[in-house]
């Protein structure tokens, strides 16, 4: 009963703060709404016995990524609202695409199968703690995808460094940066 109430509250807050995040006028307020959203998502993870995921959600998303967004907002310091030309020419076209996307997402819901998979039953996860279970799975069965994800992040990191360096060193820096990327690929 309590869990259901808690889920309902979190789901409601996620939807409301998500809507507010795209409709509020002040960009800093929008970022704060996303912060509220992240906290309620972490709450949802807790109800699913995924406490490690919940903590990492807050540490990484709220503690690092969102703070960087705030940083950018503060440094840019928007005095007036930006008006960009729309990506799709007609508003109705955009709405149809959004609705199509929503239908597509809803259609995938039946693909989720309830119940336990592999050796990790709910009881086994509770006993070994979620952190240990996740670590063991990541470093054994899913080692390759894990490493690939790490490599992709490294490429993005080095790309960021290269972009930031270009202004300082003048003409010769981009070439060495391009080489660096080639090596990684």
């Amino acid at each position: 009963m309590f869990l259901q109430l808690f889920f309902g509250y979190c789901a409601l807050m996620i939807v409301v703060s998500g809507l507010l995040a795209i409709s509020l006028r002040n960009p800093v307020h929008c970022v704060l709404m996303v912060l509220v959203l992240f906290f309620h998502m972490a709450g949802l993870y807790l109800t699913l016995n995924a406490e490690f995921l919940a903590a990492v959600q807050i540490i990484v998303y709220a503690g690092a990524i969102l703070v960087l967004y705030l940083f950018v907002l503060f440094l840019v310091s928007l005095r007036e609202e930006l008006h960009l030309t729309a990506f799709v020419p007609n508003a109705w076209l955009g709405r149809i695409i959004a609705a199509g996307l929503a239908v597509g997402l809803i259609a995938t819901i039946p693909a989720f199968s309830l119940g336990e998979k592999s050796a990790w039953t709910v009881a086994a996860i509770r006993e070994a703690t979620h952190t240990k279970a996740l670590g063991q799975e990541l470093y054994t069965s899913y080692l390759l995808p894990f490493e690939i994800a790490g490599l992709i992040l490294l490429v993005a990191l080095i790309g960021g460094l290269v972009l930031a360096r270009r202004d300082e060193n003048g003409a010769d820096a981009p070439e060495s940066g391009a080489d660096g990327k080639e090596v990684l690929r």
Binding site: V28, F74, T131
Partner: protein, 322 residues
């Protein structure tokens, strides 16, 4: 019944921590006073013992001024975000065997999560005040907290590896009650990195750039007055206490001491926390402030590589020894 008992514990913890915060300011003023060859507060009560209470009453009755162009909701929420985040961390601290409100498996990560939430309070206070000094203070704090949170997290990975758990009680149990069992010795690099990051995370001297009085008036809290200013102050002191508690739990063996104390098991824990608090104050009375680029250089170029090396070394040692 369980919920009622829990509420009683929460109230007790709250009152004790609040008293602790009040008297931590008194100790700070007294210790710094004596280190600078003066007496510190002397007027109210015997040797100024009632000074914190007088300060509390004063700030409670002062006018609460909100600047006209401030972003009102954010301005009002910022100090509360700070205090709530810090108070929430108290729930997972084990003061003695079984003396913990919420014995969760991710205790250490929970503390990190809450300390990153507390940095929002500071940043938002700086932004919403609509003042240069506050804004600069908030920006500095944000950059500092992001940088040093990384080195702090990495410095504790060695402890996590050795204890094999994120549960704070389990970390204390893993160190045992022998003197050599403390992680201070095998994790001395981790402790070194953690200690410096701890000073930076709590915005203490020599890393108190977010509220550098000589250049930024009072940093992010410049525009705050009355009770809201006092809330920032409380959050800062609870933050110091939480960090000292984490250092005690992870490196000094938590509640274990040379001999067991009857009636009051957390005695050793409290003494160790006060040792750290004293060092905090001692450093404040001794060291000058870092320059901003030095702060960033130290964090990114020294502490993070050191902490990473410590992780690799600890993991290799653990793999060899087991």
């Amino acid at each position: 019944m369980d919920i009622l008992l829990m509420l009683v514990w929460i109230v007790i913890l709250f009152v004790v921590v609040m008293l602790h915060v009040a008297y931590a300011t008194y100790f700070e003023r007294k210790i710094i006073g004596h280190m600078q060859v003066r007496l510190g507060p002397m007027r109210i009560g015997w040797h100024g013992l009632l000074q914190p209470i007088a300060d509390g009453i004063k700030s409670f009755f002062k006018e609460d001024i909100i600047p006209e162009n401030a972003d009102r909701p954010t301005f009002l929420a910022a100090p509360i975000i700070c205090l709530v985040a810090m108070m929430t961390s108290l729930a997972v601290l084990p003061f003695a065997r079984g003396w913990v409100l919420a014995d969760i498996d991710i205790g250490l990560l929970f503390i990190f999560a809450m300390s990153s939430l507390a940095s929002y309070g500071v940043v938002l206070a700086g932004w919403s005040s609509n003042s240069k000094y506050s804004f600069l203070g908030g920006m500095r704090s944000m950059a500092q907290v992001i940088s040093y949170e990384i080195s702090m997290g990495l410095s504790l990975v060695g402890v996590m590896l050795m204890a094999g758990s994120l549960n704070l009680s389990a970390i204390v149990e893993a160190q045992g009650d022998r003197f050599l069992g403390m992680y201070l010795m095998p994790q001395c690099i981790g402790f070194f990195v953690f200690f410096i990051s701890m000073l930076a995370e709590t915005n203490r001297v020599p890393f108190d750039l977010p509220e550098a009085e000589t250049e930024l008036v009072s940093g992010y809290s410049t525009e705050y007055s009355g009770m809201r200013y006092a809330i920032f102050f409380m959050a800062e002191y609870i933050g110091m206490m939480v960090m000292a508690a984490i250092a005690t739990i992870c490196f000094l063996g938590g509640w274990n001491g040379p001999f067991a104390v009857p009636f009051f098991p957390p005695l050793w824990f409290v003494l160790k926390i006060y040792l750290f608090m004293f060092v905090f104050i001692w450093i404040r009375a001794t060291l000058p402030r870092y320059r901003y680029d030095q702060l960033m250089g130290l964090g990114w170029k020294v502490l993070i590589p050191l902490a990473l090396a410590n992780i690799v070394f600890t993991a290799c040692m653990k793999a060899i020894l087991t």
